[in-house]
């Protein structure tokens, strides 16, 4: 069994769905001849032709809007944002049109909007964003955010088959850094709405997603040597949240640290905290704490980016503090 990267897992998932279902097509900037800015769709245009792998003008509103129209008529479009930072140009389409289509008018809108997100790569303020919070507040959208090779593949396949619009956020820091062995021929479908225990533990739970799953795992190794046993819950789907999995880990360890790369104010940690508070307050042996990015735009210089974003060492210190509470 060969080892493949996170990016290859995503690519396999996309390819398998296009081979399985000819209603699936891809549209985005430079996805065809160039194979996408990060080469996710490399070779696709050759395999599937330029009517199923469409190079579009630079217009995220047109890409998402056209995907919605095609989806109404039964197609299964996968729209790529070259960098997820540009999804803001389609904010109106996604929040006003796509997210409300079923509720307002009974319109089927099974689209996937995917793209590279996240920092730790010196990309500066417009090539590093985590946009989940901007859409988390929009009923009608689903948001998935894989951290493993298996879920990169399993979630893109599930997102394409899902009957609702799904934002699929792929962390570019994971693209070629994370590798795993995936059995060939196995149909991998990660259910949307289901979190995953990334590590079992008993003293404290870290609830996280995306790149910080890996930073939390790294922190857990260090904490383990200190005698602190950390459980890590990888959310995988952000909307809808897997409340059961969250409550289960809270009841098991009684202490919660929420870690995300997105900025603090209005970030997902606030919502998760509120839900635990509402449903498992009596199970807590300490305050729910957050390790997040600082509330500033993400700067370019390595020294600045490292300061702003949550680092493994921050997770170690915060968890140690909470364990001792």
């Amino acid at each position: 069994m060969a080892e493949i990267t996170f990016l290859e897992g995503l690519r396999q998932g996309l390819r398998e769905e296009m081979e399985r279902d000819d209603r699936v097509f891809i549209l985005g900037e430079d996805v065809g001849a160039y194979g996408g800015a990060f080469k996710v769709t490399e070779g696709f245009q050759k395999q599937f032709g330029d009517s199923r792998v469409i190079d579009t003008p630079i217009s995220e509103a047109a890409i998402v809007g056209a995907a919605a129209g095609a989806a109404h008529l039964g197609m299964r479009p996968v729209a790529e944002m070259q960098f997820i930072d540009f999804i803001s140009c389609a904010y109106d389409m996604l929040t006003n049109y796509v997210a409300t289509a079923r509720y307002r008018a009974g319109l089927p809108t099974p689209i996937v909007v995917r793209g590279p997100c996240g920092g730790y790569v010196r990309g500066g303020p417009f090539h590093s964003q985590n946009p989940e919070a901007a859409f988390f507040h929009t009923p009608g959208l689903k948001i998935v955010y894989p951290a493993t090779v298996r879920d990169a593949k399993g979630l893109i396949k599930a997102a394409i088959r899902d009957d609702d619009p799904v934002l699929y956020l792929e962390h570019k820091w994971l693209y070629r850094r994370i590798k795993d062995q995936i059995p060939e021929g196995e149909e991998i479908l990660t259910p949307i709405g289901s979190a995953r225990i990334a590590r079992e533990g008993k003293d404290l739970s870290i609830i996280t997603y995306g790149a910080t799953v890996w930073k939390s795992l790294e922190a857990a190794e260090t904490l383990d040597r200190d005698g602190v046993s950390v459980e890590i819950l990888d959310l995988r789907t952000l909307l809808p949240l897997d409340d059961d999995a969250i409550l289960q880990t809270v009841k098991k360890t009684n202490k919660v640290l929420i870690v995300h790369e997105d900025t603090r104010t209005g970030g997902l940690a606030g919502e998760i905290t509120a839900r635990i508070n509402e449903r498992a307050f009596e199970w807590l042996d300490g305050p729910i704490m957050r390790v997040t990015a600082h509330d500033v735009p993400l700067p370019y210089a390595p020294t600045l980016e490292d300061f702003v974003l949550p680092q493994t060492d921050d997770i170690v210190k915060a968890a140690r503090w909470l364990a001792g509470y």
């Binding site: 160039y34 930072d85 500066g124 417009f126 390595p302 600045l304 210190k317």
Partner: protein, 351 residues
């Protein structure tokens, strides 16, 4: 006329330019290319932190269009794109500022927060772009609307690439500026590729100028690698805007001779196309024009080349070993009040 046959007379310099101005334009062209070559070397040494964007082949239209503005403190105003390094230099940005930006130095104009040419100077009159293409068209509509409201005889100039004319912001901004008759000149850069995407996949019109006409804006298409033609067309548009006649669109046909950024080997560009455009280099053409018309001596140009090299060497030496910004400086300046964002709780914890 008796006596006039003994010496061949240089043809008159077009567009009302003086010989000194012709040489100054040459200096900006050379400065742009030499600075980018230096940046390429620094990129290869991993001293440039992020991507490196070249304007090879587009220096002519950048420099010539900006040169048509009135420059200095509180004069005309310009918003460049990543391939308008030359325009920035014309407006008074210093090579050391560009070098510091690319290397994310503490002393860079954005103190390490932003990349490459994403910086501005409200006094010298330039405003940095963001990565979201098209956004600077409405912003520059607002800048020039203010000139109009204040009855200041100032003009704005903004660039838009062929690909970015597909964005909503471009159309909305252009329409707004047209309706308000803002003193704005738009330079539409038709350079053949938006990342890997050709104009045929970007729009169904032949010329960018065709789009401007839909907003009731006069538009002209010029050879973007002919420095003096670009200058002349832009100068006409700038003068017209200054007279209160509204927006003008100047399309420059040129070619992006490097990949989208240094990482991109542009394998999707046919070699013949690259070869053809290499023979149509704007600096080579301008240089030949200066010499063959007798507007400059070879030694003048060599002196400028040498001065430019020295200037770039000095700028590099000055900043290459400067420190990056201290991490905690990232917290300041999100708002006027509060001046500093919260330092999060976990940073105060010990071991």
């Amino acid at each position: 006329m008796p006596g006039s046959t003994s010496l061949p007379k240089a043809p008159p310099i077009p567009a009302g330019l003086s010989r000194d101005q012709l040489l100054e334009i040459y200096r900006f062209l050379r400065l742009t290319r030499t600075l980018e070559e230096r940046l390429t070397a620094l990129y290869k040494q991993s001293k440039v932190i992020g991507g490196l964007f070249r304007s090879l082949g587009q220096e002519g239209e950048s420099v010539a269009s900006a040169y048509a503005l009135e420059r200095g403190r509180h004069r005309d105003f310009l918003s460049p794109l990543i391939r308008n390094l030359g325009s920035l230099l014309v407006m008074g940005a210093q090579p050391v500022q560009i070098l510091r930006q690319y290397m994310a130095k503490d002393q860079s104009p954005t103190r390490g927060r932003e990349l490459n040419v994403h910086f501005g100077d409200l006094e010298l009159g330039y405003l940095g772009q963001i990565s979201h293409l098209g956004d600077m068209i409405p912003v520059m509509a607002g800048v020039t609307l203010t000139f109009k409201m204040r009855r200041e005889p100032r003009v704005g100039l903004v660039y838009i690439g062929d690909g970015a004319t597909s964005t909503g912001a471009f159309h909305e901004g252009l329409n707004f500026a047209a309706v308000q008759r803002c003193p704005l000149v738009v330079i539409g850069e038709y350079n053949g590729y938006a990342y890997s995407t050709t104009p045929e996949r970007q729009f169904a019109v032949r010329n960018l100028a065709d789009k401007a006409k839909g907003y009731g804006i006069p538009a002209v298409t010029v050879d973007g690698n002919d420095v003096l033609a670009v200058y002349e067309a832009t100068k006409y548009a700038v003068d017209r805007a200054r007279m209160g006649k509204g927006v003008h669109f100047v399309e420059v046909k040129t070619f992006r001779r490097k990949g989208h950024a240094e990482h991109d080997d542009q394998h999707y560009v046919p070699q013949e196309e690259l070869d053809r455009w290499a023979k149509n280099d704007p600096i080579d053409r301008y240089l030949t024009q200066l010499l063959s018309n007798g507007w400059a001596e070879e030694q003048d140009l060599k002196d400028i080349d040498g001065d430019v090299r020295d200037e770039i060497d000095q700028a590099t030496d000055l900043c290459v070993n400067e420190p990056l910004p201290p991490g905690e400086s990232a917290l300041s300046g999100v708002y006027v009040h509060p001046a500093t964002a919260d330092r999060l709780w976990f940073r105060g914890l010990h071991g």
